[in-house]
Amino acid sequence: MEGKAVLIKNGYVYDPLNNIHGDRMDIAIKDGMIVEDVRESEALIIDARDMLVVPGGVDIHSHIAGSKVNLGRLMRPEDHRRDYEPRAPGKRSGVGHTVPSTFATGYRYARMGYTTVFEPASPPLKQRHTHHELNEIPILDKACFPLVGDNWFVLDYLSRGDVEGCAAYIAWLLEATKGYALKIVNPGGIEAWGWGRNVASLDDQVPYFRITPREILRGLCRVNRLLRLPHTIHVHANGIGMPGNYRLVIETMEAVRDLEGCHGKPIIHITHCQFNSYGGESWLTLTSEAETVAKYVNRNSYVTIDLGQPIFADATTMTADGPFQYSLHLLTGAKWANADVEAETSAGIVPIRFRKRNRTNAIQWAIGLELALLIKDPWRVYLTTDHPNAGPFTAYPRVIAWLMSRRAREATMKGLHPMAMKRCILPSLDREYDFSEMVIITRAGTAKALGLKEKGHLGIGAHGDVAIYPLNPKSLDPSKDYKALRKGLRRTAYTIKGGIIVARDGTITAQPIGRTYWVKAPVRKELSQTVLKDVRARFRDYYTIQFENYALDDRHLALSAPIIVNPEV
C-alpha cells in the first residue's frame, strides 16, 4: 500500500470535517496516511496550484457487486455494447454503462475521484459471490451490507421478543458473511413476496410469521444499538415507488424515534429517499412531497437519508424489493428478472429509462433535488443515484452541477414535460450548494455516517485518499459555469489512494488492492454460545446447505479490514 511519500502543494483544500473551506495549503502523505509534513526531497511533489483538493469520494450506496448485480449484467448485453473499457498495459478490459463489469467499476470510480464504495444489499447465502466480485474491483476500499430484514432467524427471534438473541445472531451473521451494516428492504414485504404478496402498512402481519414491519424495524434498530455498529440500520422503506408513499416513509422514521437515546447520533438511514417522497393517489395525480419529508428530516436529527437522484438516461433498476420490481415490470413492460433466496430475501431487476418528456420522471427528478435543497444539514443528506437504479454513478458530476447551480436546474427544466413543474416547488428554490457542502454530501458526511474514522477527511491520521480536480474554486463560479464544473468533476487531475497515484487525467496508473471492511461485534460468550447452538440445530431446517459451509473466512477477502466494536451485550 505504501509508496514514496507524497506532497500535494498549493491546492485549494476543502476538508469540512476539520473546518477547512478552501484554504490554500499543502497535504502530506506518508506510508499511506495523511501526516503533518514530509520532506520535499523525499517526496513525490504534486503541483495542485489552482486546483480543488478534497478527500477521496466515499459512496454510501451503490450496487456494484453480487448475484443481483450479476443477474443485471447478464440481462443487459445491449447496455454493454455501448460502452466498453479497452485493455491497456496494467489494465483489464471491461464493459457496461449502467451495470459495469468488475474492473471497469473500479477504474471509473477512481477516475471520478472516488476511493471508497459500499455495496448496500447482499443476500447472506450468496455473500461469497458478493466478495468474489468485490475482491476483483481494483483500487477501491469497499464493504457490503447483508440483507437481514426478512431473514427467518431474525423474524423468529424478533417475533419472540428476544432482541438480545437476535443481536447475537446478527453479530454472528456479520462475521460469517464479512458484512458491514444491516440492510433492511421493504421489511416484511419480501417474506410476503415469497407467496407473491406484499405488505401495505407498517402494521400488516407478515404471512405465517407473528410479526409486523414495524416490529422488524424496531427490533433491528435496537439490535443495531446493542451491538454499537458503526453505521445505523440502512432502510429501503416499505411502499417504495408508490404515489402517496411519503406518509409511509415518515411513519417509518417515526417508528423508531423513541429508540434514539441521548447520544444524539442518527439511528436510522433512509436510502434513496426520492423514491419514497411521493404525494398524490395515482401516477396521474403524482406530486412531490419532498418538502414534507425534508421538514421531518430537518426536525429530527436521528435520521439520515441519501437521495437516489434520477438522471435522464438509461438505468437498470435492481433492488431486493421483489414485489416492487414486479410492479415496475407491469408498469413499463420491460424485461424482468426475479431471484428469491431461501429463508432470507429476494431480488428484482427491470431496465428503465428516465425521460424528460415523461411527467412522472420529471417529477421524480425534481423530488430528489428538492430533498437535497430543502434539508438544511448537509451532514445528514448524501448524494447517490442508487446506482444503477436512478442512473449510473458516472453521472454524479451532473447531479452536483444541479445542486450547485440554479441555472443548471433551469436549463434542464426547460426540456421537461410542461405539467411536471406544477407539481413541484423546485422552480422556486434558489439555494445552491457550495464546495464545502458538496464535499460533505459526497465524502465527509458519508464517511461519518458509516463510522469510517479515517475516511472523508484530510486530517492527520486519515487515509491518504485524495482527489485533485482540475477546477479552481476561487475563480470558477459554479452557478454560472456549471458546464465547466461538471466537466472538471468527471475526471480528476490526480486520484490518490493510500498515497499511491491511481488515476492521472483519466488514465489508470496503479491498481492497488482495496480493503474489504467488515464488522466484528463480539457479544458475551454465553449468549453467543446459546444462540449459535440454536442456529446450528435449526440450520438445515431453513437452508439447503450445511452450517459449516455458510461462513466465510478472512482468507476469502482480498484484503480483510475488520472493524471491531464493543457491544452492550
Binding site: R73, R76, G94, V95, G96, K126, R128, D340, T544
Partner: protein
C-alpha cells in the same frame, strides 16, 4: 472406503477420481506422445498460445471459479475467444434470459414453498439423482411436509423414470416444446385455441395442465436440455421463461434451469462479472465482445477461425459433433485435465491437474447461484498442480513471450 450422502454420480466421482489419471505432462509430436516435465509442458503451451493468431480458451465445466478467472486473464492477454461449456448446454437459456428476464429462486425456496413442481425435458432421476428428495416433490420444507403436499408434473418425449413418479405426465412429440409452451401461455391469457391438439397432445390435456399451474400456490418449472438443444434453441427457453412470467399474474411461479456440469454456473457467473457476458466472449479487439453464432466456440471452430485452443476441465472431442471435433483435431491444443480423455489423447500438450473438490479447494456455484467452497480432501499425486496454478504459470510465460 465408501461415500456417504452422495448420489450415484457423486459416489462415482469420489470412488473413481483416481482411475484413468493422466500420469504426467505429455507433449505430442508427429503422433508420438512423450512424457515431459511440467516446465517443458508449460513452455510449449505458452509457445502455442502466444504464436496463435486467434486462439480459443474453452471448457470450465468442472473446475473452480478461481481457475476460471485465471483463464480469463490469460485469454484477455492473448486476445482469445473465451467460451465455456454452457455454449453447448444452457447457453441458449442464457440468451433467452437476455431477451426476457428470468423469474427464479434458490432451491431451498422450492423445498419450503412449492406445491407444484414441473420437470420439463429434464429427468432428474438420472441427471440429478438427489434433486427430488432434497429440493423437489419428496423434500420436506417449512410449509410443505413432503410428497403428499405437492403435485409432480413431468413433460417429456419419453416416459422417463421421473415421469413414472408424476401425478401428471405429458408425453409430447420431439421438437414441439415451443408449441406446447405457447399453447399453455395462450390458455393462461384466455386466448382460445382453435386446434384439436398441440405437440401430439389433446388440447384438453394442455388446458388441464394450465389449470394446475394457475391453481397452485407456488409452482416451479425445472427445465433441461430438451429445450436448449432442439431446433428452436433459445426460442424454446424464451417460451418457458415467458410462460412462468405470465403465470405470476395468477400465482407465484419460478423457473430454474437444471445445470449439468458441476461448475458451469460458476463459469457463467465469473464470465459475466468480468466481461459482462456469460459465454462466447471474444477478446481479439482488446475488449469483450459477444455475439452467439460469431463469437462462440463451435461456430469459430466450424469456420476454421481458431488456430489453437486451450481446453480446461472439459472433453469437447467426445461431446462436440464430429465435424467440429475434426476441426478441433486439426489445430494444436493445450489440455488441462485430471484424466485421460479423447481430448487429452489428441492434445499437443496435455497437463494433468488436480481434481477440484477432492484434491483441490475451490469455489463452485450451484445451479441456483449459491456459491460453495469445495474442500480439499486428499493430496493430488506428486507433481500435480491445480488448474489455477498451471494457468497462472502459463500466463506468466506468455506475458513474457508476447509482444
Amino acid at each position: 472406503m465408501g461415500v456417504r450422502n452422495a448420489c450415484a454420480l457423486g459416489t462415482s466421482k469420489f470412488l473413481g477420481y483416481n482411475h484413468g489419471r493422466l500420469p504426467s505432462p505429455v507433449i505430442r509430436v508427429g503422433g508420438e506422445a512423450r512424457p515431459v516435465s511440467l516446465e517443458e509442458a508449460i513452455e510449449r503451451a505458452a509457445e502455442i498460445l502466444s504464436k496463435a493468431n486467434y486462439p480459443a480458451v474453452y471448457g470450465f465445466g468442472s473446475t473452480s471459479v478461481e481457475a476460471i478467472t485465471a483463464a480469463l486473464e490469460l485469454a484477455e492477454g492473448i486476445g482469445a475467444l473465451a467460451d465455456n461449456v454452457s455454449t453447448i448446454c444452457h447457453g441458449p437459456s442464457l440468451e433467452a434470459v437476455q431477451d426476457i428476464g428470468e423469474v427464479t429462486c434458490t432451491l431451498g425456496v422450492v423445498r419450503h414453498r412449492a406445491d407444484l413442481i414441473v420437470y420439463w425435458g429434464s429427468n432428474p432421476v438420472y441427471s440429478h439423482p438427489r434433486h427430488m428428495i432434497r429440493y423437489g416433490p419428496m423434500a420436506e420444507g417449512r410449509f410443505r411436509k413432503g410428497r403428499a403436499d405437492r403435485k409432480l408434473v413431468v413433460v417429456d418425449v419419453r416416459k422417463t423414470p421421473t415421469a413414472r413418479l408424476a401425478d401428471f405426465f405429458l408425453q409430447i412429440k420431439p421438437g414441439t416444446d415451443y408449441e406446447v409452451l405457447s399453447a399453455l401461455r395462450a390458455y393462461i391469457k384466455e386466448i382460445d385455441l382453435e386446434v384439436e391438439e398441440v405437440g401430439g397432445i389433446r388440447i384438453e390435456r394442455i388446458e388441464e395442465l394450465g389449470e394446475l399451474m394457475m391453481g397452485c400456490q407456488f409452482g416451479v418449472l425445472f427445465f433441461g436440455l430438451g429445450l436448449t438443444m432442439s431446433p428452436g434453441r433459445h426460442r424454446n427457453v424464451e417460451a418457458a421463461l415467458a410462460l412462468v412470467r405470465d403465470l405470476n399474474a395468477w400465482t407465484k411461479f419460478a423457473i430454474v434451469p437444471m445445470r449439468g456440469h458441476f461448475n458451469v454456473e460458476g463459469a457463467n457467473a465469473a464470465f459475466t462479472w468480468e466481461t459482462g457476458y456469460p459465454f462466447g466472449v471474444d477478446f481479439s479487439h482488446g475488449y469483450p465482445r459477444y455475439n452467439p453464432g460469431e463469437t462462440t466456440f463451435v461456430d469459430a471452430l466450424n469456420r476454421g477461425e481458431c488456430d489453437a485452443a486451450l481446453i480446461v476441465a472439459s472433453d469437447p472431442i467426445s461431446h462436440l459433433p464430429k465435424d467440429s471435433a475434426d476441426k478441433l483435431m486439426e489445430i494444436p491444443t493445450v489440455v488441462l485435465d485430471p484424466h485421460i480423455t479423447p481430448t487429452t489423447l489428441v492434445a499437443h500438450v496435455a497437463i494433468p491437474t488436480a481434481h477440484v473438490g477432492i484434491e483441490a479447494q475451490g469455489t463452485a456455484y450451484r445451479m441456483d447461484g449459491v456459491p460453495l467452497e469445495l474442500k480439499k480432501l486428499v493430496d493430488p499425486p506428486p507433481g500435480i498442480l491445480t488448474d489455477e496454478e498451471v494457468l497462472r504459470r502459463i500466463g506468466r510465460v506468455v506475458l513474457g513471450v508476447s509482444p
